[in-house]
């Protein structure tokens, strides 16, 4: 536990080969065990075990990384999770189906709408609800894409902040505020919306909300061009990020990475296209993938560029949804909400949906009562963080900060 605080002093006895003794035997033994545990094949030079986090600002939450470092070089990274564990799955077994939604909000608090949608889709599948009013479906797409933009803005903004670019971070948050204002007007809350319910929406659209959203999109597109001029096209930024944290596509697939992390490695996989949910199949958009223009494919920069491209795709989707929703604005958003949610005993549904961070799955099992028997959440961030060891080996500690930023984890989603 405290062994990493002591730098080892070594005495090498020639007749016993490489034997390591320590001034503080207890600390030394810990260190040795830690090394064994971390599968360090041979240790030479000055290896140290250092904790990064859980209060480190660049780990984007309460993530503790146990690093084995040799000077600045990272030899091994072990993420330690659980600091933000809030027992979502057990809570869900003790509340009714609808009351789980506020807890879903708090999983990935940067993209609450997408989490709500994932859970709502799972319960709707369990209930056999397939035909929802068009207004509901288009509003779900609209709010989810707005939230995707807000989430990606945090991702790219803090990514810039991690290497010292402060202006783009403030600009990203300025535009995110506008989105949060829109969603606050719609649902009443800024981050934890509880807006998408099973079979419908919590509230109707306020007057003028659609026009204001269109206004925002018109305002936002030039701002994104400015953002790219400041950060994305900056040569120093590109040179810094283009060849670190390389995640080959095979490794991304084998670790179960999804979302921009997978697409940054050049794999074209997006559930909005491959397994369309809600009304995504009626809308026209592209799936941006990493191309490796400036360095090896799957680098930190590729993941960043995928997010920037996805923001533009989301803007495209929002424009189409705003046009498509026009004929249906008179519909009642709560028409299809079931009076009682009591799915048949033993029925089970697993639905996956695409959140800004990747594939979110919810398994819901019913025992016939109004309380779910089991709810299991498959978090995209948990799978994405698992590659951090493989892609950070051999790099610098400063690169590790960037790698974590490019994986864009939310600890609420990792720990649940």
């Amino acid at each position: 536990m405290f062994g990493n605080l002591f730098k080892k002093k070594r005495f090498v006895f020639e007749d016993e080969g490489m034997m390591v003794l320590n001034m503080d035997q207890a600390a030394g033994r810990y260190h040795e065990e830690a090394m064994k545990k971390l599968e360090i094949e041979s240790y030479q030079g000055d290896e140290m075990v250092v904790n990064m986090g859980p209060q480190h600002p660049s780990t984007h939450g309460v993530l503790r990384l146990e690093l084995v470092i040799d000077g600045e070089i990272v030899k091994k990274t072990t993420p330690h999770l659980g600091y933000l564990h809030r027992n979502f799955e057990k809570h869900a077994e003790n509340t009714t189906y609808n009351e789980v939604i506020p807890y879903c909000d708090r999983l990935d608090y940067l993209a609450s709408m997408n989490q709500d949608l994932g859970y709502a889709l799972a319960v709707e599948k369990l209930m056999g609800l397939s035909e929802l009013p068009e207004k509901v479906e288009y509003m779900r797409v609209l709010t989810c894409e707005l939230n995707r933009i807000a989430s990606h803005l945090v991702a790219v903004g803090t990514f810039g902040l991690d290497i010292g670019a402060f202006t783009p971070f403030l600009w990203a948050f300025r535009d995110r505020e506008k989105i949060l204002d829109l969603l606050e007007w719609l649902s009443g809350a800024r981050m934890l919306y509880n807006y998408i319910w099973v079979g419908g929406l919590a509230r109707d659209i306020p007057d003028g909300w659609l026009a204001k959203t269109r206004e925002f999109v018109d305002y936002f597109e030039p701002k994104m061009v400015e953002f790219n001029k400041v950060l994305t096209t900056n040569h120093i930024f590109i040179e810094r990020t283009a060849d670190i944290g390389v995640l080959p596509p095979e490794m991304a697939v084998s670790y179960g990475c999804t979302g921009p992390v997978l697409r940054g490695s050049g794999v074209k996989w997006d559930l909005r296209k491959n397994e369309p949910f809600s009304y995504y199949d009626k809308l026209d958009f592209d799936i941006p993938v990493g191309k490796g223009e400036f360095g090896p494919l799957g680098s930190v920069l590729d993941r960043y560029l995928v997010r920037i491209a996805e923001i533009n795709e989301s803007v495209k989707i929002i424009r189409q949804a705003l046009d498509a929703i026009e004929p249906f604005v008179e519909q009642d958003v709560q028409a299809a909400i079931p009076k009682k949610i009591r799915p048949a005993a033993g029925s089970e549904a697993y639905v996956r949906s695409e959140t800004p961070r990747g594939e979110l799955g919810f398994l819901v099992r019913s025992d016939g009562s109004d309380v779910p028997f089991r709810v299991k959440g498959r978090s995209p961030c948990f799978h994405n963080i698992s590659v951090v060891d493989d892609i950070s080996r051999g790099g610098m500690i400063a690169d590790l900060v960037l790698i974590i930023g490019s994986l864009d984890i939310v600890l609420g989603c990792v720990d649940r």
């Binding site: 505020e177 009443g188 509880n194 400015e226 400041v230 096209t233 120093i236």
Partner: protein, 184 residues
């Protein structure tokens, strides 16, 4: 060597482009507010501190049951036939004394479920969001219109009535049992 100089050239030009953008941004109006003096106008449906207009509350207990975090505490006692508690503004007759209606705003998760189920719409969320307080007790909001003494008296009356009722039931049961035994 050529690469070295081209890198420097591209770095300088791209930084110049970026600095041009920040130069432009300098002459734009600020997007920030001087918070304590200038305040944000929240939308009318913003979800802030809960408020219960207890004159309209019929004590139906729906909000207590739907709350995912159990932050609403309610005690009610039945009104007597000769007590007229009037009607709520939505027309629902009030048949119960709401002797206790407390909301623990420290526990509240601002999910808005309680206001959607409220039949008389007496429970709603205000746009008040600055609920920092100096003591933990101040986070518990009391809404009942009865003083603690009155509430206690009403609860006592209710308990006594329940006792009387239970005794009567027992007596009736005993009488029934006795009656059934006689023919046998």
């Amino acid at each position: 060597m050529g690469n070295y100089f081209s890198d420097i050239y591209r770095a300088i030009t791209t930084i110049a482009v970026g600095m041009g953008q920040t130069w432009k941004a300098m002459f734009r109006p600020a997007t920030t507010l001087q918070y304590p003096t200038v305040r944000w106008q929240l939308p009318t449906n913003a979800r802030g501190i809960l408020f219960n207009n207890v004159d309209d509350c019929i004590g139906c207990n729906k909000c207590v049951r739907i709350c995912p975090v159990q932050c609403i505490y309610m005690d009610t006692t039945k009104a007597h036939a000769d007590e007229d508690l009037g009607k709520a503004s939505t027309g629902n007759p009030i048949r119960q004394h709401v002797v206790r209606f407390d909301i623990d705003m420290f526990k509240c998760c601002y999910c808005d479920f309680c206001t959607t189920v409220c039949p008389t719409e007496c429970l709603y969320m205000t746009d008040e969001y600055e609920n920092g307080v100096f003591s933990r007790d101040n986070g518990l909001y009391h809404f009942s219109k009865y003083s603690p003494q009155e509430a206690l008296a009403l609860l006592k009356r209710d308990a006594e009535e329940a006792q009387v009722k239970a005794k009567a039931k027992e007596a009736a049961l005993a009488a029934k049992n006795k009656g059934s035994k006689v023919p046998a």
